[in-house]
Amino acid sequence: MEEVALGMFPTVFVRMTGRGGGVREFRALIDPGAEYCVIPKVDAFFLGFSEIANDDPTGQASNNLTFATYNGYGKAISIVMAQVELGRMSFKKVEFLALDIPQVTGFDVILGRSLLQFMKLEFDYPRATLRIEERTGELKH
């Protein structure tokens, strides 16, 4: 993928295919500081992840995660998206958290390291551009 304008925030359109083959496309915020990708619960449900609807406090799903931000803690269910397409790049089995970002931010989806691990990103703040390249090879820890 070539350069995209950085704008106020680094965003790209990304297409997601869930379990049932349904597709949703969103304008997503790119955040290398985020460990996981984030998708709204209602869209995760639409894409075939019915476990999102489980709000029984006594029977927690095994994929229930607690995450930390510097603004506090939260809980979300982890799901594995069948396919994520970003530009001409396509990735399978990407981990997402089903979580509702405050609506007033204007974003539904955040792309974190669970997807960005497959890419090399170059943030050029003075020129206000973002370059995204696909990476191949094994993940180094």
Partner: protein, 137 residues
């Protein structure tokens, strides 16, 4: 400057405030934070007593210093302080705006400062998760 990509992404930053007072603190790099974030006590120690003011009081006299944000906790306000200099390795930025926001669980966080776009505005950052590093220049 090459930074190992940890979780969270931490570096050591030197903050220079008024009257030459310096604090060196562990800092989180946040690519999308509009401002840097500083603890209230650090802002006061660095020579910015107005960081101790309540938001409504500060807003009455200096509304330009009380921006409004959206966070996971909802709508929040913070008080802006202008740090004379912020240094991360060889990267130096002057006149950096930082906002005073209290961390929800400060004892559990391993950092005391957040480097946002008011510092990163003059940087070029390359993130390579596969190789495990962030290059800042």
């Amino acid at each position: 400057m090459k930074i190992r990509l940890g979780n969270p992404l931490l570096v050591s930053a030197r903050l220079e405030g008024q009257y030459g007072i310096v604090r060196e603190v562990a800092s989180l790099i946040d690519f999308n934070a509009p401002y840097c974030v500083i603890l209230r006590q650090d802002a006061i120690d660095l020579g910015y007593p107005h960081a101790a003011n309540r938001h409504p009081d500060e807003e009455r006299t200096r509304p330009d210093r009380v921006p409004v944000f959206t966070s996971w906790q909802g709508i929040q306000r913070g008080i802006v302080v202008r740090l004379n200099k912020v240094t991360v390795g060889p990267v130096v930025a002057s006149e950096v705006d930082a906002v005073v926001l209290e961390l929800q669980h400060p004892r559990f966080h391993t950092f005391d400062f957040v480097l946002g776009r008011t510092f990163l505005a003059n940087c070029k950052l390359t993130v390579d998760v596969k190789k495990g590093y962030v290059n800042m220049r």
